[in-house]
Symmetry: C2
Subunit: 673 residues, 2 copies
Amino acid sequence: MTRPIPHVEMANAIRALSMDAVEAAQSGHPGMPMGMADVATVLFTRFLKFDASAPEWHDRDRFVLSAGHGSMLLYSLLHLCGYPGWDMDVLRSFRQLGSPAAGHPEYGHGAGIETTTGPLGQGLAAAVGMALGEERDRARFGSDLVDHYTYVVTGDGCLMEGISHEAISFAGHHRLSRLIVLFDDNHVSIDGDTALTCSDDQAARFKACGWHCQSVDGHDPEAVAAAIGAARDSDRPSMIACRTIIGYGAPSKAGTAKVHGAPLGPEEIEAARAALVWPHAPFTVPDTILNAWRAAGSRGKSERAAWIDRFNAAPSQARADFTAYYDRDLSAGWKAALTAHIAQESRTAPSKATRKASGDALEVLTPLLPALVGGSADLTGSVNTRTNATETMQSGIMENRYIHYGIREHAMAAIMNGLALHGGTIPYGGTFLVFAGYMHPAMRLSALMGLQVIYILTHDSIGLGEDGPTHQPVETLAMLRATPNLTVIRPADTVETSEAWAIALKRKDGPTAIVLSRQNLPCLRTKSTGDGSAADGGYILREAACAPRTVTLIATGSETSIAVAARDALEPRGIGTAVVSLPSWELFDAQNDDYRRRVLGTGLRVGIEAAGSLGWHKYLGEDGIFIGMQGFGASGPAEELYRHFGITADAIVDAVVSHPKTQGQTQHEHEQV
Amino acid sequence: MTRPIPHVEMANAIRALSMDAVEAAQSGHPGMPMGMADVATVLFTRFLKFDASAPEWHDRDRFVLSAGHGSMLLYSLLHLCGYPGWDMDVLRSFRQLGSPAAGHPEYGHGAGIETTTGPLGQGLAAAVGMALGEERDRARFGSDLVDHYTYVVTGDGCLMEGISHEAISFAGHHRLSRLIVLFDDNHVSIDGDTALTCSDDQAARFKACGWHCQSVDGHDPEAVAAAIGAARDSDRPSMIACRTIIGYGAPSKAGTAKVHGAPLGPEEIEAARAALVWPHAPFTVPDTILNAWRAAGSRGKSERAAWIDRFNAAPSQARADFTAYYDRDLSAGWKAALTAHIAQESRTAPSKATRKASGDALEVLTPLLPALVGGSADLTGSVNTRTNATETMQSGIMENRYIHYGIREHAMAAIMNGLALHGGTIPYGGTFLVFAGYMHPAMRLSALMGLQVIYILTHDSIGLGEDGPTHQPVETLAMLRATPNLTVIRPADTVETSEAWAIALKRKDGPTAIVLSRQNLPCLRTKSTGDGSAADGGYILREAACAPRTVTLIATGSETSIAVAARDALEPRGIGTAVVSLPSWELFDAQNDDYRRRVLGTGLRVGIEAAGSLGWHKYLGEDGIFIGMQGFGASGPAEELYRHFGITADAIVDAVVSHPKTQGQTQHEHEQV
């Protein structure tokens, strides 16, 4: 008979692997994994519902390491529990190029990594999104199929970041009782004792937001277990402050900032091995201990089998719905409906703000696509994200599809990440474009993880008028375009706006930002203008007619109609002028060289956008002209601002006719007159 | 004898002006000013220490309208109290182009506007910086000269934004007892009742962060007065939840979201005039009421006179110190010391990380410049912002010059804004470059307000290595360069880093971001390389030597030494190659055309930067080459990452020799071999 393996030996396996991997890499953070090893061991061996052999099982509990620098805690657990692909060699390759064991947990790099973390607070807020997803899916499919918890490990850093308040407040409001936060209360941050900078009573703070709170000794497994049990029984989200010693086991460095983010060094590691009574060689876990961990990793097999039985016993429609939902199946008739909507808009040619056009497209799409879960950061009526098909998600009707995120842009973006990660939904959320700055770190993670999250960003320029420069983005488009794997679309009219929605829905491997006007814009695609559309990124909206093309006006969004007006003034002067609509740089840049050259033309190119010029020179060439903003905006009526900042058809005409490249044409035209 | 003017009539003057101005502009937010009119009247007529005729008096109380959309509250008060430049005509021009009465309060547009607000939470956090500045200056100059309060009006929006937690937590930790927050607790946000999305017990939340809290009826002037009195006596920062009715006085719309952000309309305004018993014409305040307000505006005259007496009675050295401090006088010998430091670095040519070079420059500067107040968001040892001359600011030694901001990047930036606005200090603060994303909204306000705030942003590329893509900025430089009035400097070596500090110190009208490497870099300016320096933005670091220049390698920061290595490989092949160091695009773009053309050359241009390409085409021309990042980074040792992503001297050489423009030279060189 084999003896049961004591808790401490199992926890020490995490500690040893963590310090060994950091030492091998000569880089990393041993302190947190060593401090939280006991808590994690209790969670993974007694509570967490998972089957390491099936890391994608829908009804698994989620485990989020929000304090992502402690990545070796997670990697140790994934190895010990037997997740596929987490052999010991992977731990040996910690922080090496190409290893799944990256410096911080990277979603998609290995089984069992539920989300990318590292930028502090993001994991906590994404976990709120996962717990919200669970709550919604349970309301939708019933607890036979959806019934799991979301556990989060956070440190002081996560809780100091502002996003934590947005996330905690939101979770408390929605009473997300399946969300359990394990706070690594180790009193140490990089600069030293947390008392140097923070005096928050974290438990009182969480309670003020409606949470259930406990405090325990994080090195007492029974106390931790009792607290997790009580947290699971609470009808509110739960925070357990686990008092731990950072770097637990390292005799001279434990409890200090020294152990946070640097290898312990051979001497300290040897001393830690002695102190922990862990006489095994680096990267070596005795079979008895490994087997006990592997048993923990397969604890959930029977639960999963039972779940499969329940799934198979469900009515076929329910099974089909469930599967389609988690596959984000978009086979329903939305494309035909949207095509019909576009045809009608093109025919009736309404003048409308693109934010309104977006709302109209959503009215068509949301009834057909149950995956769409909308919301806004307290600007619902301004960003037009709510439709007749999307009712407010709230207590008792959590299956609903409209989320009032509150004035919490950053959490909105992170919660959308969590919803997308949890599965099934295609979250979209709206705010003003300038406030993308409040949520960019979470948008960046949408892009880095390749999540289908749709950002609706309205009031996209000085065109918003009187609210003034604090609300008028001039740098935000550049910020978004500079972000890899984010598709940015700034449609020119109602037709392009619907096309933008089609692009965003088809794009399953990354986020899309749809950038929209506050002000009304004419419909420019009232009849066939060739084969181009927003899906091409850029296309010839109007070809030169009076003469071969010598000028190409290139514009995005609300400035496209200004470019068309300028063309209408230039052509009668004999200057062959085309207008290129360029709603998405990313999509245009993905076209082949020939196409791009043909669209941009060889003559004088003029870029027109009510934003800063950064990035435009790529399209304009050496003698091109940019007409846009030179600095911040101002408060005043929108039309006056356009005149004040010189973004008008007249200004375009003046710039074109005074350019050396068109002097010939202009004189010619003058002679004719 | 004139009767005393009842409180309600004075408050109604604010309400009437606010609804009239919004109606005239047909745009704006009447609800908040009408709701908070009573609280503001109590504050301005009984407590606020100010002399409207001297809005720059150093020892005035600060009043910050964090809920900046309620700007008519502030503008009404400035007019009524008699601040210079706030005639009735200005209120009539509310939200018109060029008016000081912009949509949101804009710092510098008119007397009495202490800071720009509108993006929610920013005012609150900046006010924390002002209160911190007061605390520090009082410790430094004594309460005879510095002894004032900072009052802030916030709404639900400010308190939902994450930055509020960072600010509240920081203020509580430092027990900023002169900070008093008046929370407009009106239960209404844009989407409707705040209960739709928020269940926070705000008082409990503030208490958890160490604040003194009270709740009052915001329409009961005596209750408000008692609460403000108690708040002033508290030894902690204080929050008063003022229960108000948004749009108070508008009979059918008060208490609803309808009154938040739209004109009331003529009928509702007429009804409000009746309900408030305010029979006066629009933009008309009876003399009796105006006189009472003007008396409030001059209440502080005697206090200011007494302050001037105390100032004049102070020792001459103390007076000189005080004046020099608030003038941010930089006449001390820092330039000579820095020049000597640069000369020594140039002579000894140390290989060092530019973050280290920055710390070394600060060791020279901080003893000479008492205005420099440093700090970091919990990365002190990594960003090298602390020097021997800057000790930790904490209870009892608030005159110290080093601030541990905690893991609160967003509040750090906003608090630095507040410190700069309060006067005297030149704040600088450090974090990793990628985390500029966490604080960009506050950096934007530094730029919009033209504040001398210095951002130290280290670990600026894949050169940080193993921490991986979450920590490796690829879009952040573009984000910063796109921000108007922000000077971005990415120095190549220790010499340019010191020059960057000189630029930042001399630049009094806007913020500077100094972008620094984690990894060691060789010193490239070991001897004279011509007259160029970082102050030019870009300059020829190495001219072509083997032949007339046909290739120009243009690089910033850590990639400059890679460019130099590539040149050293190209020149022996007979390809005349110059290296241009381009540490600051903004400064380079400000040079004249001739200079820029001469520096960039007419041959093949190659841009090299370990970041995305957005913006580079401006310098590269149509057939230029960019060598940098195509997407996100990865986790691994830095040198491997540079090879993996193809940012090496070899890659530059390959790109150059295979380019059509150099085929001639290369063949020639091959023939020679």
